[in-house]
Symmetry: none
DNA sequence: GATGAATGAGGCTTCATTCAT
DNA sequence: CATGAATGAAGCCTCATTCAT
C-alpha cells in the first residue's frame, strides 16, 4: 500500500526504460536490460507495467506532458519571437537532445503500427495543436504575428516546422553548427509569421 | 552471366523488403516474411544481401536517389513557388506516403545506431543540401526569393521544414485536411522565402 | 537461494551434454538435443551456460579434476608399478572409456582453435605435469624408478605414453584384447622406468 | 576424358580441403570455403567428391599412405634407434606438424562415429601394426631389440607411444622444448625396447 | 564438364512473458 | 510484493546439396 514508494519505483523504471530505449531502440532494448538498469527483477517489472508496450506508452505520455509544458512556457514569454529562439537554442545546446529526438522518431514510427500508441499520440497532437492555436491567436491579438493567418492551421505548420528543425538538430553535427542553424531557421520562420511590413 | 535477371531479382527483393518494413518496421519484419513476399527462400535472400542491414542500406540508397530526383524536378520548374506547391500536394495526395515517411523515420532512428547506415545517411544529407543550395542561389539570382538569405543554411531550413511537413502529412488524417495543411504550410514558408515587400 | 538445486541442475546439464558430445561430437550435437536430454528447455540451458562453448569448457574443467584425481590416487599407491597397472586395467575394462577418450580427442582438436579452451587446456597440462613430476621424484627417492631420469621431462613422456595407450584402447577392439595390450604396454613402459639392472 | 587433368584437379581439391580442415575443423570448414580455396565452383566440387564425407575419406586414405611410408623408411634405416630418433626429430621440427596432428585427432574422433571412416581407419591400423610387427621381428633377429618381446603387441605399444608423443609435440610449445622432449621420450622408449643389459 | 542460383533443414541464441516460491 | 527459474516462439544466418543452363 506504500503508494508513494510504488510511484517512485515506477518512475525509476521509466527512467531506466528511457535510458535503454534511447540507446538501443524499442525492439533492441530487452526487458532484461531495462530491469537491470532499474535494479529490479524482470518479474518485478511486470508488476508495474503489464507489458513492454505499456512501458512505451507511459513514456509517450510523459513526453506529451513535457511538450505541453514548453508550450505553456512559450505562452508566458514576453515576446513570442524571443521565446521561440530561447526554446530552440536550449534544445540545440542540449547534449542528449539527439537521443530524445531519436526516441521520438521511433515512437512516431511505432505509433503508426500500434493502435494504442497511435491513440495516445493523436491525443497529444490534438492538445498540442489546441494549445499552440490559443497561443497564436493571443499573439495575433497583440499584433505580434500576422492577423490574417489561420490560428489552427498555422499552429500545425509551426509544430511541423519545429519537428523538422529539431530533427535536423538531433541528427546534425556539432553544437556550434546547430546553433547557427537554429538561428537561421527561426529567422525564416519569423519572416513567415510576423505581420507583413513590420 | 544473366546480369539482367539478377538485377531484376534484386529489385524484387528490395520491393518486398520495403513492403514489409513499411508495415512492421525493421526489427519486426523478419527475413522469413521478406523472402516469402519476394517469392524466394530465406537462404536465397542471403545471396543478394549478405545481411538484413545490407538490405536496409540498399533501401536507404534508393530513397536517396528519389530525393535527389525531386530536387532536380524542382530545379526545372518555371516558378519555385509553384514547384514546391506541386511537390507537397503530390505528396499529400499520395496514398502510401505515410508508409514511406514512416520507413524514413525508422531509418533515421536506426541511422543513429548503425554506423554504416549513418554514413550513407549523412552522405545523402550532404548531397541534398548541396543540391538545394544551388537551387536557391539560382532562384535568388532570378529575384524569386530573398537575396539576403544564405543559400546553404536556408537550404537546411527548407529541408527541415519539408521533413516536418511531410511527417505531419504522413501521420495526419484524411487527404482533404492534408491538402489544406499543405497549402497553409507552403504559404507560410513562402512568406519567409520571398523577397520582402514583393 | 536454492544454490544446491541450482548446482544439481547444472550438473545434470553437464552430464547430458557429455552424453551428447560423446555420441555426436561438439559441432554435431545441437543445443536442442542437449537440452532435451537434460529435460530442460533450450532457453533454460542458456541460463546455466551462456554459450555452447562455455558448456564445453565446463566439461573440460571437469576432466581436469578427474585427471588430477587419478594422479593423486597413483601417488598413494604402495608400488608405482602396481598402481599404473591398476590404472590402465581399470581404464581398459571400463565400458565407455572409448567415449571419454573420443571426447578428449575432440576437445584437444578444438583447443587448438578456441583460445579460451586452449587456456584451460594448457593449465590442465601444466598442473598434470607438475603433479606427475613430484610423483616421479618421490619414487626416485625410494629407488623405485631410475634416479638418472629427469622428473619433469619424464613426466611428460609418461603422460604422452598414457595418452597414446588410452587412445588405442579407446579405439581398440574387445576388452580382452585391450587388457592384453594394456599389460604389454605397461611392461614396456616399466622397462624404461625401472632402475637399470633391477 | 582428360584423366590426367582430372586427377590433378582432384588433388588440388584435396589439398584445399586439407588446408581448410586443418584451420577450422571438419564441421566448421564449409564446402564453399574449400571450393573457393580450390578455385572451383561449389557445384564443381561435387563432381569430384559426391559428398563432404567422401572428401574426408580421401584425406584419411592419403594419411594412411604417408604413415606406411615412414614405416617403410624406418625399415630401411641402418639402426632402428637412429631411425626412430630421426623420425621424431623431423616431426618435432616440422612447422605445421601441429596442424597435421590436429586433423588426425579430429579424424580419429570422427572415425568413431562414421562407420565408413571407421572402416578405412581400422584398415590403416591393421596394416600399420603388421608393418611395424615385421619391422620389430626383423630387428629382434638382428639383436637390436629385446627378443622376448612379442612383436605384434609391442608394435601396438610403440605405435601408441608415438601417437602420444606426436600429440604432445603438436600441442606443445616452442620447437626447442619439443626437441628436448622428443629426445627424452625416445630415450625412455629405447630403454624399454633394447635387449636387457646391452 | 562446369557453374550460378536456389533451397530445406537446421544451428545458436534471445526475447517477452509466466509462475511457484 | 519480489524474485529466480523456466519456456515457447521466433530471429538471423549458414550449410550441404541439387539442378537448369
Amino acid at each position: 500500500m506504500d503508494l508513494e514508494g510504488r510511484a517512485a519505483r515506477r518512475m525509476e523504471i521509466m527512467a531506466a526504460a528511457r535510458w535503454c530505449f534511447l540507446r538501443k531502440g524499442f525492439h533492441a532494448a530487452s526487458t532484461a536490460e531495462i530491469s537491470e538498469k532499474a535494479s529490479i527483477s524482470v518479474a518485478g517489472l511486470y508488476q508495474y507495467f503489464p507489458t513492454k508496450a505499456d512501458l512505451v506508452m507511459a513514456l509517450v505520455e510523459e513526453d506529451l506532458e513535457m511538450d505541453l509544458e514548453w508550450v505553456s512556457d512559450l505562452a508566458k514569454a514576453e515576446s513570442l519571437h524571443d521565446g521561440l529562439i530561447k526554446l530552440v537554442l536550449e534544445y540545440a545546446n542540449d547534449v542528449g537532445c539527439g537521443d530524445a529526438m531519436r526516441l521520438r522518431l521511433e515512437v512516431t514510427a511505432e505509433a503508426s503500427r500500434d493502435p494504442k500508441i497511435a491513440a495516445v499520440f493523436s491525443d497529444l497532437e490534438a492538445r498540442l495543436v489546441a494549445a499552440v492555436s490559443r497561443l497564436l491567436a493571443d499573439r495575433q491579438a497583440k499584433g505580434e504575428i500576422d492577423a490574417t493567418l489561420d490560428p489552427e492551421v498555422t499552429a500545425r505548420t509551426v509544430l511541423a516546422f519545429l519537428d523538422g528543425v529539431f530533427g535536423w538538430i538531433a541528427v546534425g553535427g556539432d553544437s556550434r553548427a546547430n546553433e547557427a542553424f537554429a538561428h537561421a531557421a527561426l529567422a525564416l520562420l519569423w519572416r513567415g509569421l510576423k505581420p507583413i511590413g513590420s
